[in-house]
Amino acid sequence: MNFPLPSLVAVSAAHPWTYVLFAVIGFAFGYTLEMSGFGDSRKLAAQFYFTEMTVLKVMFTAIAVAMVLIFGAVGLGVLDFSQVWVNPTYLASGIVGGLIMGVGFIVGGFCPTTSLASASTGKIDGMLFMLGGFVGAFLFGETEKYFDGWYTNAGYYGRVTLDQVFGIPVGAVVVIVILMALFMFWGGEQLERIFGKRDLSKEPKLRVAGAVALFAAAVTVLAIGSPSLEDKYNKVTFTRTETIEQVNADPIVNTLTYTADDMLANRLVFITPAEAFKAKYNQSMNPVYLDVRSEADYNLYHIENAVNVPLDRLTEVIPVLLSEPPANSVFILMSNDEAAATKAWKTLVGSSVQNVYILEGGVNNWIAFFGAEDKALQPAPNAGDDQLGYIFPAALGSRYESCDPNPIEYEALEFEAKIILQLKRDKSGGGCG
């Protein structure tokens, strides 16, 4: 099975039990915080006077355990990391907001979720913190308009993980984080001994075994590594519906599941030049034309607004394709013919980019369709596979008429629509957002 389960990524009224599932997750969350002592503000505040490091211990144990399990599952190919919400990086608002939160933490003695654990067990200070929280969140909503530009743009880096920042394998980051956490636990216990007068000899010996197990698990994650592109490609599935008209009855709608290779074999991802062109004028989608040919071919002739990403540099833009464009983006790949575009399609699909299609017959077919009457474009007799099938008098790029066909002239175009927009889950409201 492929995790996360698509039907569970968001609540939806169509599946009322999704509300129950998230409520159960919340229940376990609140239960764990309360049983760890986070309903008591003194335990939380003690963290900042070094007398009791419970906050640090609980938080970093949780991060360490979850991280090892997450990246272990990713490495084994069970969990698709591209479908996991990773908080986008906004350095400026993150730092300022973080510092403000820190002040609120030590003044109020809680953080938002711990105040829930506190309030729900009858602690009056927890209830007041919660109440203050509603006021604070409201005030933010009211004042955000005064620094909207800064809030949305300053230090924005999108979806970046630590392994990308440091340019090392994710398994290595996991090992480093575990070592750091273990060092902090050791340091935290020393502080408790000094400032909190705690007798460490009474601490359970089992915690040492836990530390060893955690470290061993991290090394295993490093050893497993990340799943190959091919493994990920083979796991991708697509669903399409097929409607069978019935005489004297409602049509039957079948849902069919295809593998990525089936999609290619059945040519379900090849769209005609007409459909690729019409996508530009379709309000519901945002087509992105990715031209994967060499820069030389691109300079000779390319479709208006096409972005040149030569095949060998495709992997560099994948993070951008995953995180940046609007959810209704449709990527239309093209090469001179179809070979290079098909390779690019496999790479993007294996990397979990959604709504990727291939221009049927490539740029040559586009010219044949829209530029057949252009006398400047003469067919090249000896063009090989996936080479430009035309001779160009000059490298005019997108300045031929057929690069940007006239929408009025081509108002009525018949085609069998292949593009089925699959909306990514809305990540704008994800995380704690």
Binding site: M59, A62, T113, S115, T161
Partner: protein, 181 residues
């Protein structure tokens, strides 16, 4: 302290808290399962905003249309409560209550430093809540959504937020010590 000797509701014997490493490990497994099943981590401060937005939408819908931030949550026919974080929020309240119930920790009391009055503590708690949630919305997540969930998924920005939270709290701790020590 009088508040300490008060009996627990339902008269259940009060149990000790679990060991922090054990509590942390359980929390880590809960977080992992949430991410494995749904692709979303844990959180709560987002729900506070959404409840606020729902409230404003109910009493002053015109105000929503004039406030960009609220517009994102409750504009048009959007229901601000239709988000996974809302059931997580109410689930967490119920979960905290249940843990308190089974461990005999349900009681009306105020947790505070030894040298301040209940009234001062209440004021500080309220003020802290205002400040914390203001910062949490600015940073797009609190200790749960950013530090915990973002930390475990190795989000670079979340690690920065996490250190900023600790930095802010340690930086101010000395000046508010009379409220806690």
């Amino acid at each position: 302290m009088a508040t300490q000797t008060r009996k627990s509701i339902f008269n259940r014997p009060e149990k000790a808290y679990v060991h922090p490493y054990f509590g942390g490990a359980v929390l880590g497994i809960v977080l992992f399962l949430a991410i494995l099943l749904t692709g979303n981590g844990l959180g709560s401060s987002g729900a506070t905003s959404r409840l606020d937005a729902a409230f404003v939408d109910a009493v002053a819908p015109a105000h929503v249309d004039n406030t960009p931030y609220l517009l994102k949550l409750a504009g048009g026919d959007k229901n601000p409560l239709d988000d996974w974080i809302v059931p997580v929020f109410f689930g967490a309240l119920l979960g905290g209550f249940s843990s308190g119930f089974f461990s005999g920790r349900l009681k009306f009391m105020t947790t505070k430093g030894p040298n301040i009055s209940n009234r001062t503590r209440w004021l500080m708690a309220f003020l802290g809540g205002v400040i914390f949630l203001y910062g949490a919305r600015m940073a797009r997540g609190c200790t749960s959504g950013q530090a915990l969930s973002g930390g475990a998924t190795l989000s670079a920005g979340s690690w920065v937020v996490m250190f900023a939270i600790f930095g802010g709290a340690y930086g101010v701790a000395y000046f508010v010590r009379k409220y806690w020590l």
